[in-house]
C-alpha cells in the first residue's frame, strides 16, 4: 500500500497531466466549438497536451 502511495506521489505531475489536464483540455476544445484538424478527437488532443505537459513537469520538477 505504502509503495503504491509513494508511486502515485512520485509520478504526480504525469498522472495530473493525463488524469486532469487531458479531459480539461478536451472539454475546453469542445466548449469553444473548435474542430481539430484531420478528424482528431478533442480527447486525443487533450491526452497529447496533458501527457506531454505532465511529462515535462515530471522531468523538470515544475510546471512553470
Amino acid at each position: 500500500m505504502l509503495t503504491f502511495v509513494k508511486m502515485i506521489f512520485r509520478f504526480g505531475p504525469l498522472l495530473f497531466g493525463i488524469g486532469f489536464l487531458a479531459p480539461l483540455s478536451a472539454q475546453v476544445i469542445s466548449t469553444t466549438n473548435w474542430t481539430p484538424p484531420l478528424g482528431v478527437s478533442p480527447l486525443t488532443i487533450g491526452l497529447v497536451f496533458g501527457g506531454m505537459y505532465g511529462l515535462l513537469a515530471q522531468i523538470r520538477g515544475r510546471w512553470v
Binding site: V5, I8, F9, G12, P13, L15, F16, G19, F20, A22, P23, L24, A26, Q27, V28, T31, A57, Q58, G61, R62, W63, V64
Partner: protein, 290 residues
Amino acid sequence: MSARDFSQMSNTELLRAEREIARQHLDRFPWFSVAWAFVNFGTWLVLWPLVFFTGFPLWAAFLIATLNISLSYLPSHEAQHDIIARPGSRLRWLNELVGHMSIIPMVLPFRAARLTHLEHHKNCNHDELDPDVSTRARGPLHAVWRSIQNRQPRADAAYNAYAACLQRIGRTDVILDSVIYQIVFYTILIALAWSGYAIEAALIWWLPRHIALTYIQYYLSWAPHHPGDMTERYGNTRSFRAILGNIGSMGMQYHIVHHLHPRIPLMRTGPAYWDMKPILEARGCDVKDL
C-alpha cells in the same frame, strides 16, 4: 500616555504596559470568525449543486469560489491558536470543527496547519526552522512569483516544507493527514474531469485554490514579515499599509499584534494595535507605515 513617556520606560515596564493592553482585547468570543467559517464553507459547498443542476453561471461561481477559498484560512487560524475555545472548555468541539472545516477547500489538514503555524511563531524568520520562510521575497511581484514557485512539484518550500517541519518536530503521523487530503483532492478532480465536469472542477476548486494560496501567502506571510531578516520578538513582524486596505488584506496590516499576542482575536488586533502603538514605537518596531 505619550510615546515620549513610553520611551523613558524600562523593558520590564514596557512589557507590563503591553500585557495590560493585550489583556483588554483577550478572551472575547470571536463570533464573527465562527459565523464567517460556516457561511464561507457553506457557500463554497453550495456552488457545486448550483452549477451542476441549476445553470448558475460558471464565471460567477469561479469568482465566488476564489473569494471563498481566499477567506477560508483565517477562521481556522483562530482555531489554531485556541481563540474560539481552549482545550478542556465547553466549546472546544467548536474550535476544532472550525479549524478542520474551514480549510478543507485549501486542501490543508488542520493538524498540519496548526503544528507548522505554531513552529512559524516560535521560529519566525529563522532560515532553517520557520516553515514559512520560503515566502521571503524582494518585493510584491517577487512574492507572488515565489509563492507560485514554492508550489511546484519538486520545490522544497510551502507544503513540502511543512512535511519537513513535521518530521523535525517528531510528528510524522500528521504527514499522513496531508497525504490523505492530497489523494482525496486529486481523486475528486480526476473523477469529475472524466465525468465531463473538468471545467467546473477547474473553476470551482483547482484554479481558485491556486489564486487563494498566492493571495493568502502574500498577505499573511510575506507582507507582515517583509523583509524577514530579523528573528527578534519586536523585529520579526511589522505593520504595513495595504493597497487593498484592511479588509482587502484580511486584517493583516496589524499582524504584528498577532505575533506579540497570538490569542487576541483577529477582529481585535486593529484596536489593540492602536492602543499599543506607542509601546511598539518605543520598542523600535517597524510601525512607520501605519
